[in-house]
Structures are given as structure tokens and as C-alpha cells.
């Protein structure tokens, strides 16, 4: 099947891309499934060939820290699903974030981040990034003007999550994108909880997308991985504030990434400058498992969303439950945003507060038999956790509440089991 063999060029659908984008039968063997190129290195044809590869003059494989054919399939797959120009796979979602920031920030710079984020990102920004001299200014997605107010001449980017952890609320991407455009800085969106099946941030003005592929993309809780995706729209050329992409690079005889690689320069710089030097490469085996997971992404995500809405409704009506935070519920403050940005469903992560408070939460987490008590989201299996004592533990009480992870909060990541069984499990746990 050749895409363009018919007269007008059709754009393939999302499910087709989920199965096929980036993949082709192996040229050597004809193997149909993506081979796992479990190799550290690749031979050169001759010295000239090696020189060209190292000089970025030709496309090819050198060393798995920099690139690997199995990982390449994952990269093109996610780029195609997001509608981006190129992508880079790395060891984890956190590594993807480090990689993006390393390209755009220098010591003393600032960035604006939504305060409703995964606890791990909040820690990364408050601690490790601070140690690099990359200084965060927090803004409130419930008050869009707070983003504009937080921008200073030192601000280099804005960072948000499309569907935010842990409360499953939706962020107004377009409104924040407008602020970023006005300040001429890129908008970075963590699209982990939504995946491109539910939301495609580039369509709403995002410039760069990051994923923890560990979660819904891989979907089976077996592989840690991350992906960053280049939206191809930000104008890096001639912008002194982003020298890794706009200035001659001494690492490559003075190449200017933005000039040589056009609208995928960010992704190439991410690979040839940052990944090369910081080293957070993805294992080819993990890439294979994540690729395989993505083939069923549309089916899984729809089932996740349908199940989660049922569970959210059940919890809303339960006498032991004080409140439920899930954008899929009609009375949720971000429900209208959910209808706009992720009409197929609001994802599979929600939080709720129990009338019995902290103790009732602890009891529930211990008593469930089908939900797994662990720190993860986006598995086929349903998961439960108490964020305040785990994922958001290192925040102070004020930060925890601001992030939607107060002491009474329980978070669910609803899986793809039969929903009646999930409700029965919660029911006996809440009794």
C-alpha cells in the first residue's frame, strides 16, 4: 500500500498511523514487525561514510546513544500521530523534559509553568532545574492572566500539561499559546495523559510536545520511555535567545541547525547536541514494546475514557465521596475545556476526596483487590494511589493543595477491565 499511488493524496486516519507510521518491512530480511536492533553500534562502509555521518551530512546509524532504527520507528510514529515534523525518543518523560530545557535555557533564565502538574515535574522544576540556574515562575491555569504576569525579559518558555495530573483537569492550551506567541517564546505541552488520540496540542498553538511514553503510549506498564516532538512552527532562525538552534555550532564545524534542518531543526538539535552529550538514550527493547503498545492506542484510549466516565459517575453518587475531580463530568469546572480540547474523552486519570479524609483514603487503597496500589498511570490495569504521601510527597502542604493533591485525595488511573468489576472493587473498598 503506497500512500500516494492514487491521484489525490489522502491523509491516513489516526488508527492507520498508529499501526503503520514510521514502520516498514526490514530491508535485509523482509521482517514485518519492527526488529529490535539490540546493538550498541553500526559498522561504517568506509572512512568517508563515517566522516559524513559524524558531520551530519548524510542520514544513517552510528551508535545507539545517538540513534537506533527501532527507536526511529517510535520517533516517527509519535511525530506522525501528533502532527509534528520530527521527534526524539529518550530514556523517560523526565529525560525528555531535561532535553527540551537544555536546548532552550541557559543559567539565569526563567520559565513559566502551570502549577497544576505531575508532582515529579514540580520537583524537577523546583530542585534539579533550579540547580542548573533554570528558574521557574509558577502560574495558575485557572487564571490565564497569571501566565502573562509571570513573564519577564528572562523568560524562555512556558510549560503546561494538556490534561493535568492528578485531577484530570484540562488546560486552556490556546489561550496560553497566544500569550507565548505574544512574548515570542515557545509553548511546551506535556501531552502524556491525553495522548494525541484525545488531544493534539500543535493544533492549538503548542510548539513542542513531551510525552512520558511509559504511560498511555506504551500502555502496558512495562517500559520506561520518553518522547519529545518538534511542532516545526517556532521561528528559531536568527533568534539570539536560543543559540543551540540558531547559532553556528562548534560541535559540527559551524552548522546552524535552524538553517540546515528547517522545520525539524529543534528535534535534530535535541539528538545531535543534547542527547549526544547528556546520554539519556532509550533502550531499543523498550522502544519495541512502546511501538507495539501504540498500535492499539485508539482502542485502548477509548476504553480507558469510557470506563473512567462510568467510574467517575459512580463515585459522584457515592455517599462516602465528598467530591470528584474529572473533566469528563458535566459539572466539572474544566468540562467545557474538555469538550473543546479532547471531545472523545477526558482521559483516564481522576482524583476524589473521601468524607472520611486521610484514614478513609488509606483504608480504600489497602482494601481494593483489583486496583493496583502503585505509582504509575496509563496501564491496562487499573491503578490507585494517595498522591500526598507519594508522587506529591515532597511538596509542602500548600503546594500539594495547589497541585490538587491534598491529604484527603485519592487518584485513580482507570484501566481497560470490565467496568462492572472495577466499580464492584471500589464498592467493597468504600464499604
Amino acid at each position: 500500500m503506497d500512500q500516494e499511488s492514487k491521484s489525490a493524496q489522502r491523509a491516513p486516519g489516526f488508527s492507520t498511523l498508529s499501526v503503520h507510521a514510521g514502520a516498514q518491512p526490514d530491508p535485509t530480511t523482509g521482517a514485518r514487525a519492527t526488529p529490535i536492533y539490540q546493538t550498541t553500534s553500526f559498522v561504517f562502509d568506509d572512512v568517508e561514510h563515517a566522516a559524513q555521518l559524524f558531520g551530519l551530512q548524510t542520514f544513517g546509524n552510528i551508535y545507539t546513544r545517538i540513534g537506533n532504527p527501532t527507536c526511529n520507528v517510535l520517533e516517527e510514529r509519535v511525530a506522525a500521530l501528533e502532527g509534528g515534523t520530527a521527534a526524539l525518543s529518550v530514556a523517560s518523560g523526565h529525560a525528555a523534559q531535561v532535553n527540551v530545557f537544555h536546548l532552550l535555557m541557559t543559567p539565569g533564565d526563567e520559565f513559566v509553568a502551570a502549577k497544576k502538574l505531575y508532582g515529579g515535574s514540580i520537583n524537577q522544576f523546583n530542585h534539579s532545574f533550579k540547580a542548573f540556574g533554570w528558574n521557574v515562575r509558577w502560574a495558575d491555569p485557572d487564571d490565564i492572566s497569571s501566565f502573562e504576569k509571570a513573564i519577564t525579559p528572562k523568560t524562555k518558555l512556558i510549560f503546561i500539561e494538556s490534561i493535568a495530573n492528578p485531577g484530570g483537569i484540562v488546560t486552556d492550551i490556546e489561550a496560553i499559546a497566544k500569550i507565548a506567541q505574544k512574548a515570542n517564546i515557545p509553548l511546551v505541552v506535556d501531552n502524556t495523559l491525553a495522548t494525541p488520540y484525545l488531544c493534539r496540542p500543535f493544533e492549538h498553538g503548542a510548539d513542542i510536545i513531551v510525552h512520558s511514553a511509559t504511560k498511555f503510549l506504551g500502555g502496558h506498564g512495562n517500559s520506561i520511555g520518553g518522547v519529545l516532538v518538534d511542532g516545526g512552527k517556532f521561528n528559531w532562525a536568527g533568534d539570539d535567545r536560543y543559540p543551540m538552534i540558531s547559532k553556528p555550532r562548534p560541535e559540527y564545524q559551524g552548522i546552524v541547525m535552524a538553517e540546515t534542518f528547517g522545520n525539524f531543526a529543534f528535534a535534530i538539535a535535541a539528538r545531535t547536541l543534547t542527547l549526544r552529550d547528556l546520554g539519556a538514550a532509550l533502550s531499543p527493547f523498550n522502544a519495541f514494546l512502546i511501538i507495539t503498545g501504540i498500535e492499539t492506542l485508539p482502542l485502548r484510549m477509548q476504553k480507558h475514557c469510557d470506563n473512567t466516565l462510568s467510574v467517575a459517575k459512580y463515585l459522584s453518587g457515592h455517599q462516602a465521596v465528598k467530591w470528584v475531580s474529572y473533566a469528563g463530568l458535566p459539572n466539572d469546572p474544566t468540562h467545557k475545556l474538555a469538550q473543546k480540547y479532547c471531545p472523545k474523552g477526558a482521559g483516564s486519570v481522576l482524583t476524589f476526596g473521601l468524607k472520611g479524609g486521610f484514614e478513609a483514603g488509606v483504608k480504600l487503597v489497602s482494601d481494593v483487590q483489583l486496583f493496583s496500589h502503585l505509582a504509575n498511570i496509563g496501564d491496562t490495569r487499573s491503578l490507585i494511589i494517595h498522591p500526598a504521601s507519594t508522587t506529591h510527597r515532597q511538596l509542602n502542604d500548600e503546594q500539594k493543595v495547589a497541585a490538587g493533591a491534598g491529604p484527603d485525595v485519592v487518584r485513580l488511573s482507570v484501566g481497560i477491565e470490565d467496568v462492572e468489576d472495577l466499580i464492584a472493587d471500589l464498592d467493597q473498598g468504600l464499604a
Binding site: Q3, E4, H20, Q24, F59, E76
Partner: protein, 179 residues
Amino acid sequence: MTHDSYDDAFIRGILDQVKSVAIVGASQGDDKPSMFVVKYLSERGYRVFPINPGRAGQLVAGVEAYARLADVPEPIDMVDVFRRADAVPQVLDEVLALSKLPKIFWMQLGVRNDEAAARAEAAGMTVIMNRCPKIEYGRLSREIGWVGVNTRTLSSKKPQRFGGGVQRLQLGPGLRKPR
């Protein structure tokens, strides 16, 4: 002909039929994109002629350079312009003065001049703007997948290796056998 986007079949057809390419604005420095294009295309079976008065008679990326388009000793199928948009009309004048008119007038990434395009088309040439032949070949052969770029193509056909030597793929199933 709209130049905002081009069908993959259209670009693939051009890159498959073209045998000789003159690169105008082939810069001095070996770190410049035009040099990469010279090298990349010549390794994939194209006869490439870098046009650069400052390096006439010298080897540029392994291939002999010429001072002017008119100095190239063979018919040129395609002219690839690495100059700013406002310098394109002057290049087009030179192209139109050639004894054998090239079939393709191609302007590089970031270069777009609609007036020059219309003039070239009126003379019977096919025009491509704001594209790089290396990136397009890389995309359509899917070699560019080796650096994680979205080729925007799908195929269930086994890609054909393009002869021995440098890791290369053919432009598409059954196309461009090694020369």
C-alpha cells in the same frame, strides 16, 4: 499550480526522472547546507554541478565546480537555487539563456519567489519552491526516518537498498536503480 504544497507522487516523479542537477549558490564553506546537498545527491546517482565562480575548476564536495551555468558541459535537467528570494530572478535569466532549457527550476528551503516561478512556468519549466531535494529524497526514500523525522509517508513494501557503499535507500519501490 499552487506552490503551498506538493503531492509526494509529484516530487518523487521529478526526483526519479532528473539525472543532472546544477546547484547555484554552492557556497564556500563545507559546513553549508548546499555542500551537503551536492554530496548527498551525487551519492544517489545524480550528476551534480556546483556553480560557484570563486571555486570554478576545483572539487567541491568531491565534484567539479563551474563558474556559470553556461559553462556546464552537459544538458542540465534541474537547477537548484541556494540564493535569497530577491536574487532568484537573476538566476532565472541565466537559466532561460541556456541553449537547452532545464525541465525543473527548484528553489531551496526558505526560498520562495512567486513572480520568478510564474516566469519559469511560462517558459515551460516545472517549479518547486521552499523545499530541499536532499530532505525530499530523504523523506520519500524514508532514509530521513533514521533521524526521527516524520516522512509523512506510509508503506508496507520492503525498501530497496541502493547498491553497496554508503547506507542508502532507493527513492521508492522499483525506482532509481543504482547507476
